[in-house]
């Protein structure tokens, strides 16, 4: 791509042709304040916060709407620009309630942050503020406070350009402007929570998170959504080992700045049917005992054993599982989808934006690790006597009559019937990586401490030791390096 050289604040910078001034500056360490600008939405140039001085142009220009040009001379730090930014912030704040102490956005509010960065001046506004609707219930998920709204139109553009539901619009004029649904409508949109992320102020808030916690008390963990094979990059926010909020993390290649509502609700609700403990023939045993027995089973019965892989398994776990299968010479490996779409929920089956039909996070990783493994539907039961079933959702009729070894975080019929059962962890409780539908390998960190100390990776390591095989690694990092 052609490169363009321009001068910003007397410093020469070179960026690809077509880059907007605001982006060119940010890439070179100059932050230009903004409200309506959002990287992944069309630019509307309406907040006027990002105005910069361009030489030979009599009026300051919105840097979010102006592409760079060769030889352009831009100023972002003149006293006039500084004064103008203060004035814009003063304008935004004259009708904005100063209710930061009770506003959920406080601490991550663009208005609060940019006011502190670029102004800090006392307002000269001594008139009565415009009063508007404070509690406008958009849906079960979203609430709108028209007084806090600064009419940046990000949410409106989101529903027009990204989720394409066209649910929101700006109505009325002047300082009476507010965001509205069509009369009688509700904000039904599979991505509606995204408007709470992109709202630069506390106008649009999540009813699930509202008044729950101050954002600076949250512990944040970079994670990967396990809701489908898209592998949206997310941030899980917890306090006292409880998930209070989940929000998207920007990734240009995967999910831009978005994630679906289903996944957020899914993370917010405790998962039902969790398994617990380690049992042999439904009697609790210790970890050492079950490792021994399973190792022995593998040594003695590998020729009659089928290994069924979990599509929730991490790439690192899969690598060790593969080592086990090869070392023990287990007869066959089959794959299965640990979670499938069902029409009994309101979950979207698939769409053009993010949601994929494969509702498990790592089938790509499974296929890469076990390229010859077939789907469990091809399993012929009479060929085997033992089955190692990893993860939930294996069809019981395919396994009936076999001796079952089950390793799963979610309880199902197979787990209930298994002679050897081990409660596993869900993805939020472990480190690892998933390979998404497009083959992108994405690491994630543990966000929650699970109830049990069990660790799938260590379990596989211990079995390998029992089989007298050197594991390729003993930690996630070691395995990842060896892969």
């Amino acid at each position: 791509m052609k490169e363009v050289t321009l001068t910003v604040d007397e410093k020469k910078i070179t960026v690809p042709e077509g880059t907007l001034i605001i982006d060119a500056c940010e890439q070179n360490g100059i932050y230009i304040p903004r409200f309506c600008y959002h990287k992944h939405l069309t630019k509307s140039g309406n907040c006027r916060m990002c105005l910069v001085k361009i030489e030979r142009n009599p009026k300051p220009q919105p840097s979010c709407m102006t592409p760079v040009a060769d030889g352009m001379v831009v100023y972002t730090n003149t006293p006039e620009i500084a004064e103008m930014r203060k004035a814009m912030l003063e304008f935004v704040l004259i009708n904005h309630p100063l209710d930061c102490p009770i506003c959920d956005k406080a601490g991550e509010c663009m208005l609060q942050d940019q006011y502190m960065m670029f102004s800090g001046d006392k307002s000269r506004f001594n008139e009565e503020k415009v009063a508007k609707e404070k509690l406008y219930i958009f849906s079960d998920r979203i609430i709108y406070d028209a007084e806090r709204c600064i009419a940046c139109s990000r949410c409106v553009r989101f529903t027009r350009e990204i989720s394409k539901t066209h649910k929101l619009g700006l109505v009325e004029r002047g300082d009476k402007t507010y965001v509205s649904l069509a009369p009688g409508d509700t904000f039904e949109d599979p991505y509606s929570y995204c408007v709470t992320d992109i709202c630069p102020v506390g106008a649009l808030t999540s009813r699930k998170f509202r008044f729950k916690e101050r954002v600076w008390n949250l512990h944040t963990t970079d994670s990967i959504c396990a809701g489908c094979s898209r592998g949206c990059n997310i941030i899980i926010e917890t306090k006292d080992n409880e998930i209070l909020r989940v929000r998207p993390r920007e990734n240009e290649k995967v999910n831009m700045s978005w994630m679906c509502d289903f996944a957020r609700d899914y993370y917010m609700n405790p998962i039902k049917n969790r398994t617990s403990g380690i049992s042999i023939n439904h009697k609790s045993v210790d970890y050492k005992k079950i490792v021994e027995e399973i190792t022995d089973l593998m040594k003695e019965h590998a020729k009659e054993m089928v290994f069924i892989v979990s599509s929730y398994g991490t790439n690192e776990e899969l690598a060790l599982a593969k080592q086990i299968v090869e070392a023990a010479e287990i007869k066959a490996v089959f794959t299965k989808f640990d979670r499938v779409w069902s029409d009994s929920t309101d979950e979207v089956k698939s769409d053009d934006l993010l949601i994929t039909e494969d509702k498990s996070p790592n089938m790509s990783g499974v296929k890469k690790t076990f390229p010859n493994a077939k789907d469990i539907s091809n399993l012929i039961i009479s060929d085997y006597k033992y089955a190692f079933v990893w993860g939930p959702n294996a069809p019981m009729e395919k396994l009936d009559g076999l001796h079952l070894i089950a390793l799963s975080a979610i309880s199902d019929q197979v787990f209930e019937k298994a002679s050897w059962s081990i409660a596993g962890r869900i993805s939020t409780e472990k480190h690892g990586s998933f390979t998404n539908i497009d083959g992108i390998v994405q690491p994630f960190r543990r966000a929650l401490k699970g109830d049990n100390n069990f660790d799938e990776l260590l379990f596989f390591v211990d079995i390998l030791k029992g089989l007298n095989v050197q594991p390729i690694g003993r930690t996630v990092e070691e395995v990842r390096k060896a892969m």
Binding site: G45, N46, M88, V92, E127, G174, D175
Partner: protein
């Protein structure tokens, strides 16, 4: 004053708007000229005429037309801006109501010149009668074969659609008007792209004021050079002025550019009501700066002279203000208008116009503080030229000029703690001009 009448060249007898009456005044004669004229020749005549946009900004029409991209494969549109919303302006209304065929003829010629196949006439929602008359005229023009059919001797077909606005001042801005035609909320667009490159339906578009387009038949008939000889060096032609306020004969007048203002006020407009003294003049519509009598003494009615006096010819809406008028109250009325009409899209105008109004109202109510006066001008400093469209600038023009010209009146309100005027202006019979 010369008696030259280009736009108001007819007797107001209740039938001037009909095709029959228009043809009797040699209407649509220039259309038959097109078989011998190439589009570039029509454009050339308009360029030569030097006619400047009559909507307010005064940009030369011929030059605007030449901004169209050459050899575009997109359709080109012509729009006639009849969203006459500037307070004090009602001159286009006379053309739309009394002489719509002249506009249609002008639009046929202009469309031909810029190679537009489809033209729009956008009329503000409040102009019900003008809309009706214009629609009737367009219908007549279709029936007579001026529209919708190949013009005699050419392959050119012109279509005109009349579009009614929904009542927003901001739609008088060209890009706001285009959004409105497209069925979107009447809010303006950031420029660039400029309409000549990407306008209506993202196609190259030329948009001109009613008065500008209605002048085109005369320019084509008599030649651009002839038109240029009318008026002054830099302000050619005639101008419609809509006069309102404290004058004996308010109304719409057509004058030759360069006519002395005071003569116009005292002769044509019959002087100030009740023989009062002139206190102030807003010469070009509410957003142009207000002038004091001493500024107007040697002022002539053309773009340069009014600019020299410190204001602008704008849309030609002369608002005359007599002694006895409270300037703070008047500014409050104007500030109310701009606050009401702010579309709410961009921050400075959305928030600033309301703030201005609240302060001005407070001063008028006797609750002002001395520092409020400077606060007003420091607010306008950050609205003007920082908004997407000129509404922000328009809202600031009167505030700045009222404070500059009549600062002592603001101070008096604050010192007295009340408005020194009784708010009454004796009612005197006006003469309908």
């Amino acid at each position: 004053m010369s008696d030259i009448k280009i736009l108001l060249n007819f007797e107001k007898n209740g039938t001037s708007h009909t095709l029959k009456s228009y043809q009797a005044r040699d209407g649509y004669e220039t259309v038959s000229k097109l078989k011998k004229m190439k589009p570039e020749q029509v454009l050339d005549e308009v360029k030569k005429s030097g006619i400047r946009g009559r909507g307010g900004a005064g940009f030369p029409a011929g030059i605007k037309w030449s901004f169209l991209p050459k050899g575009t494969d997109k359709p080109i549109y012509l729009i006639c801006n009849g969203d006459e919303g500037e307070p004090g302006t009602f001159k286009d209304r006379v053309i739309l109501e009394e002489n719509p065929h002249m506009l249609i003829e002008g639009m046929i010629l202009s469309s031909y010149a810029i190679n537009a196949k489809h033209a729009y006439i956008y009329i503000r929602g409040e102009y019900g009668f003008a809309l009706h008359r214009t629609q009737e005229a367009v219908k007549e023009a279709y029936e007579a074969g001026y529209l919708g059919k190949k013009l005699k001797g050419t392959d050119y077909v012109c279509d005109i659609t009349v579009h009614k606005g929904a009542g927003a001042y901001v739609v008088g801005d060209e890009t706001g008007l285009m959004n409105s035609i497209e069925g979107k909320k009447g809010q303006t667009r950031n420029k660039p792209p400029f309409p000549a490159i990407e306008g209506l339906y993202e196609c190259p578009t030329i948009i001109n004021n009613v008065e500008t387009l209605a002048s085109v038949p005369y320019i084509v008939e008599k030649g651009g050079d002839h038109y240029k000889s009318i008026g002054t060096e830099k302000s050619s032609g005639t101008k419609l002025l809509s006069v309102s306020g404290h004058v004996r004969k308010p109304g719409v007048y057509e004058i030759e550019m360069g006519y002395p203002f005071m003569d116009f006020l005292n002769n044509e407009c019959g002087g100030i009501l009740g023989g009062k003294k002139l206190k102030a003049v807003i010469p070009g519509g509410s957003s142009t700066p207000v002038l004091k009598p001493e500024n107007c003494k040697n002022m002539t009615l053309d773009y340069e002279s009014i600019a020299e006096a410190g204001s602008s010819l704008g849309s030609g809406a002369v608002i005359v203000i007599a002694e006895g008028t409270c300037m703070v109250k008047l500014l409050e009325v104007l500030a109310h208008f701009y606050h009401h009409e702010s579309c709410g899209q961009c921050t400075p105008c959305r928030e600033g116009t309301g703030w201005l109004l609240k302060i001005i109202k407070r001063i008028e109510d006797g609750k002002g503080k001395m520092e409020d006066i400077d606060l007003l001008t420091s607010i306008t400093k950050h609205i003007a030229f920082h908004t997407i469209c000129p509404l922000g600038d328009a809202a600031c023009g009167p505030v700045d000029s009222f404070v500059k010209q009549f600062r002592e009146e603001f101070e008096e309100h604050i010192k007295l703690g009340k408005c020194p005027y009784d708010g009454k202006f004796e009612r005197i019979q006006t003469v309908v001009g």
